[in-house]
């Protein structure tokens, strides 16, 4: 199979052999793909190495079949987002989310556009944690694990902003204390995530615990490396 000029972002780069790179790329129409970029390191590189850095809008071409295909072309597709500091660390976290949760060769064009928009939002600066929570919500929905945020799972009643709930991974929000497990959140936090309206700090912290628990159920026991690796460097999110 031969693919040309496919909108893509590199999620992760790893050196391979003497002059090659292994790329994990997120593409609009082919989902996450593994690519080998041959002869791109060193003085005689075929492509500028900077082009294959993560988090830049690219157009990639590749050929081959199976788990690892061969990169044939790469060109920039739009301006480079100036991700710095905590925004950059946040983007590294999001990249790990995509690598760990999105299966290879499973297209998610909507999620691709959402990711592209998120990088722009992160580059703008403030509200990193809130932007991450909204992206996590959309990621879970795109993968078929949409959260139920507007109604309680046990009664079917609309979420009361002043009530307290336990959010369970399989079911959703139930009255606090009625079932074991889950993460305790106020109704106002669930409604904020549902509508995308910025919650108060306390609710935002609860949503962080909630999303971590939900993501944890999908990535397996080891959890995300980012939780450990970025805990010190990234304080905000």
């Amino acid at each position: 199979m031969r693919v040309e000029s496919q909108p893509a972002y590199v999620l992760h780069v790893r050196a391979w052999r003497e002059t090659s790179l292994l790329l994990e790329a997120f593409t609009r129409d082919f989902g996450r793909v593994g690519l080998v970029a041959r002869g791109v390191r060193g003085a005689r590189a075929r492509l500028p190495r900077s082009l294959l850095e993560p988090m830049q809008a690219l157009r990639l071409g590749w050929s081959g079949r199976g788990e690892l295909q061969t990169l044939t072309t790469a060109e920039p597709d739009g301006p480079v987002h100036a991700l710095r500091g905590d925004a950059l660390l946040s983007a590294l976290y999001v990249n790990e989310l995509l690598v760990r949760l999105v299966a290879r060769n499973d297209p998610h064009p909507g999620l691709f556009d959402r990711y592209a928009a998120l990088l722009g939002e992160l580059a703008e600066g403030p509200l990193l944690a809130w932007r991450l929570r909204c992206f996590e919500r959309d990621l879970l929905a795109a993968l078929g694990y949409a959260m139920q945020l507007g109604t309680a799972a046990d009664t079917g009643a609309a979420i009361d902003p002043d009530a307290t709930y336990d959010y369970l991974p399989e079911q959703g929000a139930v009255a606090a204390g009625s079932h074991p497990g889950g993460v305790r959140v106020r109704g106002s936090a669930l409604l904020a995530l549902d509508s995308g309206a910025l919650p108060i700090a306390e609710d935002l912290a609860a949503l962080r615990r909630l999303m971590r628990m939900l993501i944890g159920t999908h990535v397996g026991e080891r959890g995300l490396q980012s939780w450990r690796v970025l805990a010190g460097p990234l304080r905000s999110g």
Binding site: L11, H12, V13, R14, R17, E18, E24, P48, S50, L51, E53, P54, M55, Q56, P76, V80, L83, R84, G85, D86, L88, L89, L92, Y93, N95, E96, V99, L224, Q225, S226, R228, V229, L230, A231, G232, P233
Partner: protein
């Protein structure tokens, strides 16, 4: 390889652990040593064995060293108030050879990378914080690579320096010497333009 005696097959297989060496090259190396250079092979095996056993990490900078403290850290004539942080021993050598830097180093042995499982702990954060807290260091030169992960690492190192009250500096990025603007990649050119210098 089926007709070969076991020891030879094992030698070929062992040589394949070297980077860039596949089955064919490994076979060529093994035959070369056996046919033409037994002495060289014996020396290689002796030195390799010694090196694997005796080379560890310097207790101050984490670079490879056969002693507790490497030659650079033990050298009293080097400026102890300057600390240059690099990703790998190869980066350290590049700076040693290209610049007149006379301070000391700290080698991370990697870069911050969640997907590779490389975090503060793996990069020797504890040891680095100790050195920053010692009060001896006036400036930390952050010489991680200008890659996404290198920049993330630099950001984190900057935070450590700030927490310890140490001035942090970062290597400049720019147009390579002898380069032509027309052929410089866009990111580098944008960066060089953004951080342009006043003419003296």
């Amino acid at each position: 390889m089926t007709g070969n005696p076991d020891l030879l097959a094992e030698l070929v297989e062992a040589l394949r652990c070297l980077p860039g060496v596949g089955a064919k090259s490994a076979q060529r190396m093994a035959f070369h040593l056996l046919e033409r250079d037994r002495e060289g092979g014996a020396r290689l095996s002796r030195v390799l064995g010694d090196a694997m056993q005796r080379i560890g990490h310097c207790k101050a900078c984490r670079n490879f060293s056969e002693r507790d403290e490497c030659a650079i850290c033990a050298n009293a004539s080097r400026d102890a108030s300057l600390l240059c942080v690099v990703e790998t021993p190869a980066d350290l050598l590049a700076i040693e050879q290209a610049t007149g830097y006379r301070g000391r180093y700290f080698v991370l042995m990697g870069r911050l990378s969640p997907l590779d499982g490389m975090g503060p702990q793996e990069l020797g954060a504890g040891l680095l914080q100790q050195r920053l807290a010692s009060g001896e260091i006036a400036e930390m030169v952050i010489a991680t690579n200008p890659t996404v992960e290198g920049e993330a690492t630099a950001h984190w190192l900057g935070q450590l320096a700030r927490a310890a009250g140490v001035r942090a500096t970062r290597l400049a990025h720019g147009v390579p010497l002898g380069g032509e603007l027309e052929y410089v990649d866009r990111g580098t050119l944008a960066h060089a333009f953004g951080t342009r210098l006043t003419m003296e």
